[in-house]
């Protein structure tokens, strides 16, 4: 698949990187463009970024021809790789001038078919390349040289530079001529990557890429986790696509670390329930750790690097140990603990490192900084090594992963759109505060903010709904009030705050509402929901009893 299946609007928080890469490769048209490697953890969106770049280069300009290639592990014999690489390049290059999408997916095209195509397009350079390639049938390495040099040859012949985008580039180290991988073959990319008219942008498994000398010479462009805005946009979009509403608990968001793949797995699973609440999101996460696409993706990595079942078990045990060790471990220590030779421990550690499961750059073994991966390893360990049932594992994660709070008490109110209905919410809040013995000052400040939130909700849903929905949740140390109402969208995407309509904006003092809410509570959030907009107010609270205790202590 060359083009991304994502809409532009669903490609969150990456426009800056995409534009940077786009401009970078377009440099090849006017000057020399430099090759680079996209680095980032698994699931962060490197492949998606390459696809988006290819799509943009293919459709939005005609100065630099894009070529996107994914290294196929089934085509690593030099001859198969060369043929596949060259044929795909020629199809994509010939498709580019007239944007012929159908030509991009001509996978099974024969050399004769390609000749005919080149003839039809009067692409003499392409016919020459195919002719030279055909003559090298008995010399696979020569054929590989021709294939890898094809983008540069076409650039020289046509004057049009080529941006070579290669995904899963780490697999190149598996290229072989006689069955045994020959890492030296990867060096043949070096010259091609150095040409200013054929900038290469490659990506793949970072641990393996770092071990490829040809990649180490390239500039590294990090693909970072999504920021808070990108994360929130992505979640909103996923929820919308399932016509669900809800918000991922902040602690779980921190767990997922802005990794788009992790986010998608968890939110998608949680959306099986119409309007997932906090508990549903945590349960979805736990199920993902145990048997969802999230867990399966890491399990498949383990299977690739440890095809032997017994070795895989040992590798899992070692990984678990490394993730739970309070200090970095050496191969010698691993060997002693697991009754292995140092060489066996070293081989396993090396494979774990290349799989991206641990850090081991200088022979010291540490866990990677990925909380989700750690919990997937725990889930596998419980199931495969401790033979725990799914129910037992779920119970384990419910008690260790989900924050253990005191009782969460929730009150829901539906207010009619009548005059001074906001006072019902404010006075309800006061009563809740009294019943739960909450700090009166904190509740008083929250009341002020709630009044403003209700007024805002009523103003913006005028004529579009007849109720305002107020929900109050109280746990050990926070009080959260959400105020939801129907109405046209009134959130400014950039700021996440409501737009002020012109009529209100003319009235002096209007617009103070948000300022006031922010002044009196600890956090104010605005969310688009299916029915309209929700304002969420969060206030830290203390129990009055605690305050009294503290007062007494101070007096003493």
């Amino acid at each position: 698949m060359l083009f991304s299946s994502l809409k532009d609007s669903d490609f969150f928080d990456r426009q800056q990187e995409l534009t940077g890469l786009f401009k970078r490769v377009l440099q090849a048209d006017v000057a020399q463009a430099r090759s680079a490697v996209l680095s980032g953890q698994r699931g962060i969106g490197k492949t998606e970024l390459l696809r988006q770049l290819f799509g943009r280069l293919f459709w939005e300009q005609d100065r630099v021809a894009p070529f996107l290639y994914t290294v196929n592990p089934a085509l690593l014999s030099v001859i198969a790789f060369s043929r596949n690489f060259l044929f795909q390049f020629l199809c994509q290059r010939l498709a580019f001038p007239e944007k012929e999408q159908a030509l991009l997916s001509r996978d099974g095209i024969s050399i004769e078919g390609l000749f005919a195509l080149a003839e039809e397009r009067k692409a003499v350079w392409a016919k020459d390349l195919l002719g030279h390639f055909a003559q090298c049938a008995c010399d696979p390495v020569a054929a590989l040289r021709i294939a890898l040099a094809a983008p540069h040859r076409s650039a020289m012949a046509t004057g049009m530079p080529v941006a070579v985008l290669i995904d899963d580039f780490h697999r190149i180290k598996g290229l072989h001529d006689d069955g045994a991988p020959d890492p030296r073959l990867a060096f043949l990319f070096e010259d091609q990557m150095a040409h200013g008219k054929t900038p290469h942008i490659v990506t793949g498994n970072m641990a393996e890429l770092q071990e490829l000398p040809v990649v180490n010479k390239l500039e590294r462009i990090p693909v970072l986790p999504l920021g808070p805005e990108g994360t929130s946009s992505m979640i909103r979009s996923l929820l919308n696509s399932y016509e669900a509403e809800g918000s991922v608990p902040p602690l779980l968001l921190r767990h997922l670390g802005g990794n788009p793949f992790y986010l998608e797995c968890v939110v998608t699973r949680a959306c099986a329930k119409n309007n997932p609440d906090d508990g549903a999101f945590w349960k979805a996460y736990i199920r993902e750790l145990m048997d969802g696409p999230l867990a399966l993706s890491w399990l498949s990595v383990l299977k690739i690097y440890f095809p032997d079942l017994v070795l895989r078990r040992t590798a899992l045990e070692i990984t678990h140990r490394i993730f739970h060790a309070s200090e970095a471990l050496s191969c010698r220590r691993i060997a002693e603990t697991f009754a292995l030779t140092v060489q066996e421990a070293h081989d396993i550690a090396q494979a774990l490192y290349l799989a991206g499961l641990i850090r081991a750059e200088f022979g010291v073994l540490r866990a990677v900084e990925d909380r989700v991966l750690r919990e997937i390893i725990d889930a596998l360990y419980l199931r495969e090594l401790l033979a725990k049932t799914a129910h037992e594992s779920e119970e384990h994660f419910l008690s260790t992963v989900v924050p253990q709070k005191g009782r969460l008490i929730r009150f829901d109110m539906t207010l009619p759109m009548t005059r001074e209905a906001e006072l019902i919410a404010a006075q309800g809040l006061e009563q809740i505060g009294k019943n739960l013995d909450l700090d009166r000052d904190a509740v008083g400040q929250l009341q002020i903010a709630v009044i403003e939130a209700c007024i805002n909700a009523i103003e913006h849903s005028r004529g579009m709904g007849d109720s305002v929905y107020v929900s109050v949740s109280v746990d050990d140390d926070h009080m959260e009030v959400s105020v939801e109402s129907a109405g046209k969208e009134y959130i400014v995407q950039e700021t996440g705050e409501p737009v002020r309509d012109q009529e209100n904006a003319k009235t002096t003092g209007r617009g103070w509402g948000i300022k006031l809410m922010k002044r009196f509570v600890d956090e104010v959030r605005f969310e688009k929901t299916i029915i309209g907009t929700k304002i969420i107010l969060i206030k830290k609270i203390e129990r009055s009893a605690d305050i009294h205790k503290e007062d007494t202590a101070n007096r003493e």
Partner: protein
């Protein structure tokens, strides 16, 4: 029925207004018109006692702003007393507090106003 009521009185050259309950648009407009009446009658010293004010919203706050402006036009003195901390913060946020004198209670306000011509 409104959640707002207002009592007012004048003693010598000082007008005292005591709003009760919820100061929203209705409450603030009543305060504004009452203060205009006092100003029209020639009283140049106004006191608003907040002791029984429960809530103030920003619509009410915006009307307070015009009340403060009117008082300044009449070159009068406007004093607030018995303000809760949160209410004071609301006025501070809107930048109104610098145009009024704030006192702990009516007694302090009277002491100040009686010393002024």
């Amino acid at each position: 029925m409104s959640n707002f009521s207002l009592s007012s009185k004048s003693a010598q050259d000082i007008a005292i207004m005591t709003p009760r309950g919820y100061i929203n648009d209705i409450g603030a407009e009543r305060l504004e018109s009452t203060s205009e009446q006092f100003l029209g009658d020639g009283l140049k010293k106004l006191v608003v006692n907040f002791s029984d004010v429960q809530y103030i919203n920003t619509i009410g706050l915006s009307i307070f702003l015009s009340m403060v402006q009117k008082t300044m036009e009449y070159k009068s003195l406007l004093c607030f007393t018995n303000m809760k901390k949160d209410h004071r913060e609301i006025f501070e946020m809107a930048g109104l507090i610098k145009h009024v004198k704030v006192f702990k209670d009516e007694k302090d306000a009277f002491a100040y106003l009686n010393g002024r011509n």
